[in-house]
């Protein structure tokens, strides 16, 4: 598919963004990401394991930053300050890299986003020169505010992180997409290829997922399924679906020439 998605001025062929967590090992991580065709991959920023790191393989060796666009996240942050601090460290870690995923959580049980802290962090990060892709609830007003602050993409949840519950409020997503002038990506909650296709048919610019692939029985096969679903959903959206009607008075086969 030649039609590309542009995020913060850079174009990508793949509309599927993937996380790199929860895989069996780095070999499986790499194989799944290759099968997904994703060009943007999320990473977390964590304390280096002091004293046990010599010779230990690192994610970066399996996913070289020259081959992929890294999207460092703020997973696990519960305040704007922690999120900003984490992404400043990420920028230093990745040689001035500006594209980041902001998420500020509000509750450890559900991982539901805290939109008040998210907005506070977004303001600081945008001012500081970051290109902010922001994870948020599916509230259209908050999504618009995050766009107005200057985020480069808004990423509402389909359902809770890691839940695999699919798209629970397509109507809100549709309002967010209609209102937005920046790419809207569904982030979190996708469970199956069907969910990913529905997100794209709604008009999402892309989908970000991790668990739906990593927790599948066969992650690599699921990664391929997701790639196809994203492409199919996008083409279906662009092609424009037929209108729904209760029944049709015009059959697909000719009404003439029936045998007597």
């Amino acid at each position: 598919m030649s039609e590309q998605i542009t995020i913060a001025g850079k174009s990508y062929c793949s509309r599927l963004l993937v996380g790199t967590g929860k895989y069996k090992d780095f070999t499986e991580t790499r194989a799944a990401i290759d099968a997904s065709g994703a060009q943007i991959v999320t990473v977390a920023i964590r304390r280096t394991n002091i004293g046990q790191t010599a010779g230990e393989p690192s994610l970066l060796e399996y996913l070289p930053p020259e081959e992929f666009t890294y999207l460092p996240n703020t997973a696990g942050c519960y305040s704007a300050d922690d999120a900003v601090r984490t992404l400043r460290l990420a920028r230093e870690l990745l040689d001035g890299h500006k594209l980041v995923k902001l998420e500020v959580l509000g509750d450890p049980r559900t991982l539901y986003p805290n939109v008040i802290e998210t907005i506070a962090a977004a303001k600081v990060l945008v001012k500081d020169g970051f290109d902010v892709m922001v994870y948020t609830s599916d509230d259209p007003i908050i999504a618009k505010q995050l766009e107005d602050i200057g985020c480069c993409a808004v990423m509402p949840l389909a359902s809770l992180i890691g839940s695999g519950m699919g798209i629970l409020n397509p109507w809100n997503l549709q309002i967010i997409i209609e209102n937005a002038k920046i790419p809207v990506l569904v982030d979190a909650g996708v469970g199956s290829a069907a969910d990913a296709a529905i997100a794209m048919e709604l008009g999402c610019a892309g989908v970000l997922m991790n668990t739906a692939i990593a927790a599948a029985r066969d992650p690599i096969m699921m990664a391929g399924a997701m790639k196809k679903a994203i492409e199919a959903g996008r083409e279906s959206y662009l092609a424009g679906r037929m209108p729904k009607k209760l029944y049709s008075a015009s059959p697909s086969s000719p009404t003439e020439g029936l045998i007597a």
Binding site: R47, T53, L93
Partner: protein
Amino acid sequence: MNILINGNVKVFNVVDLTIAGLVAELDLVGKRLAIEKNGEIVPRSHFADVFLQEGDKLEIVGAVGGG
């Protein structure tokens, strides 16, 4: 000299220890990492110029798998 690294106290018997020296002591040379000293990021280009003092707090972070 006691330095708090990622929440744990480490003792170093080295005089004039720089961040670069510490990275070597910890066997982290060549690893991609970012370091914060007492809440301020120390750019990689300054590792050799920044000296550590008793009680400094360091955060040493890297990229790991995540969603």
